[in-house]
């Protein structure tokens, strides 16, 4: 039976009560939707939605050589972090392929909190342990110690403020602080994976269900993985396993803004230097369908019968009301406006490269 095999988050009973339609997501039993993906998506864009992201992994990196370890294993410049700030970063192999894409929080001094993708937790932890050999640093997998809730949407601050002692109005994007949320000791960070304003709340597993309930009772719509995917894709946020993996580099993935060659040596640097000088072989682009159809993950991009690229993500965009997606194309074919052909279940279907993100929220 599925139930005994799948891992459950601390919020599982609440999700069940709220009518979540549960699916197997990388070994975790999580809701793909409650009411409808379109309704949940719209709630996040116009009001507020709540996601259980407790499956995400957390790894702490502490000690005198915490910074050198993180600098050596990632491509962004971790030394730029200050206490109370978070950073999006790539954990890279020496090939410059992604071990994972991660968030690094600097708690204080040489105490870092690293948030990783659920399915990569063990792999990332073991990789960091391996790289830390002989260094004066302690790496711990603390994933089981946290429930994680993502409250996302334009109303997020207004709804969360009465429940916390933190002054949310002074918390800028990619900042965080420790505080109390609905009686629970929490880390609250102004981050998310939807392209909307919002917060991610890390608390103890036993407090998770109560905080979730409280937010739902205050009018926040519970949302599933389906809406999370359409929201992140409109905002062109990469999904590990779809858009990036061990075989793709940050420059190929159009994540040049997290590649800081000037920070000194790090794993994958040589490859990235070469790619920066010569241009990457291929590039992750955003597309809209010209013909009817939806180009989805894994569909080939063809030219004169030859496979020249691949779709990594694709969906119907609820906000734009059209089919959108991401694909790797040869660099010379990647300019906005150029058209290309996706093979959708044997049928040649045209798509057009468009500027990204597909959706950008209005600055408040």
């Amino acid at each position: 039976m599925i139930e005994t095999l799948l891992k459950k988050t601390p919020l599982h009973p609440v999700e069940h009560q709220l009518g979540g339609k549960m699916v197997d997501f990388g070994g975790w039993e999580l809701p793909v939707q409650y009411s409808s993906i379109l309704d949940e998506h719209e709630a996040v864009r116009t009001h507020a939605g709540l996601f259980d992201v407790s499956h995400m992994g957390e790894v702490t990196v502490k000690g005198p050589q915490a910074l050198p370890l993180l600098q050596r294993t990632t491509c962004n410049d971790v030394s730029k972090l200050e206490d109370g700030r978070a950073q999006y970063n790539g954990l890279l192999y020496p090939t410059a392929g992604f071990v994972d894409d991660i968030l690094i929080y600097r708690m204080s001094g040489d105490d870092y909190f690293v948030v990783v993708n659920a399915a990569n937790t063990d792999k990332d932890y073991e990789w960091l342990l391996e790289c830390a050999k002989g260094m004066d640093v302690e790496v711990r997998n603390v994933s089981a110690d946290y429930a994680q809730l993502a409250l996302q949407g334009p109303e997020a601050e207004r709804i969360l403020q009465p429940l916390t002692d933190l002054d949310l109005s002074s918390m800028k994007y990619y900042r965080f602080a420790g505080g109390i949320v609905d009686g629970a000791a929490s880390i609250v960070s102004r981050t998310g994976y939807t392209g909307e304003d919002g917060f991610e709340i890390y608390c103890e597993p036993e407090d998770g269900p109560r905080v979730f309930r409280t937010l739902v009772d205050r009018g926040v719509k519970p949302c599933g993985l389906g809406a999370r995917d359409t929201l992140r894709l409109e905002a062109k946020m990469a999904l590990y396993g779809n858009d990036i993996d061990h075989s793709t580099t940050p420059l190929e993935a159009d994540l040049g803004w997290i590649v800081k060659l000037e920070k000194g040596d790090f794993m994958g640097r040589e490859v990235l230097e070469r790619e920066k000088a010569e241009g990457p072989r291929r590039k992750l682009i955003g597309f809209e369908m010209v013909d009817r159809g939806i180009g989805r993950h894994g569909y080939p991009v063809i030219d004169c019968g030859e496979e020249i690229g691949v779709v990594t993500s694709g969906t119907h965009s609820p906000t734009l009301k059209k089919a959108i997606g991401l694909a790797y194309l040869p660099l010379e074919r990647s300019a906005p406006g150029s058209t290309f052909t996706i093979l959708i279940r044997g049928k040649e279907t045209r798509a057009r490269v468009v500027p990204t993100p597909f959706y950008k929220r209005a600055k408040s």
Partner: protein, 129 residues
């Protein structure tokens, strides 16, 4: 409730037969599994279908699925309103969300399909997997 006056395929299409014409769509269970339907690709009027042929596809936000013809026959009508309102498949699968009408060439095939009661048992088993 699963309508008593229709027959059901394992791939979750229903057919409602009147005279020698059958109306085909997907079941309520199928639309719930798919979630929000964003478009439906259907054959043209005049298309000849054999039992089990792919007759079209349904794209929902999260996935695409193929539609299979539960019987053999000729497509005599397609539901044009689904082009603008694919959500009818979600809101009214057995009514305005119908997909095609087919003129049966082997009416006996209908008897091989499940009745409402058998189909309900079948989806219970499916859901428990």
């Amino acid at each position: 409730m699963t309508p008593e006056d229709s027959r059901y395929a394992k791939s979750h299409e229903y057919i409602h037969v009147e005279g020698n014409v059958g109306t085909i769509g997907i079941t309520d269970y199928a639309q719930k599994e798919l979630g929000d339907v964003v478009f439906v690709e259907l054959p043209q009027v005049g298309t000849q279908l054999e039992l089990g042929d792919e007759l079209g596809s349904i794209e929902s936000v999260k996935a695409v699925s193929e539609l299979f013809s539960p019987v053999s026959g000729e497509v005599v009508e397609v539901n044009e309103s689904l082009a603008d309102k694919p959500e009818l498949v979600n809101t009214d699968p057995y009514g305005d969300g119908w997909m095609i009408k087919i003129k049966l060439t082997a009416p006996d095939e209908v008897d091989e399909l499940m009745n409402a009661e058998d189909y309900e048992d079948y989806i219970q088993t499916e859901a428990g997997k």
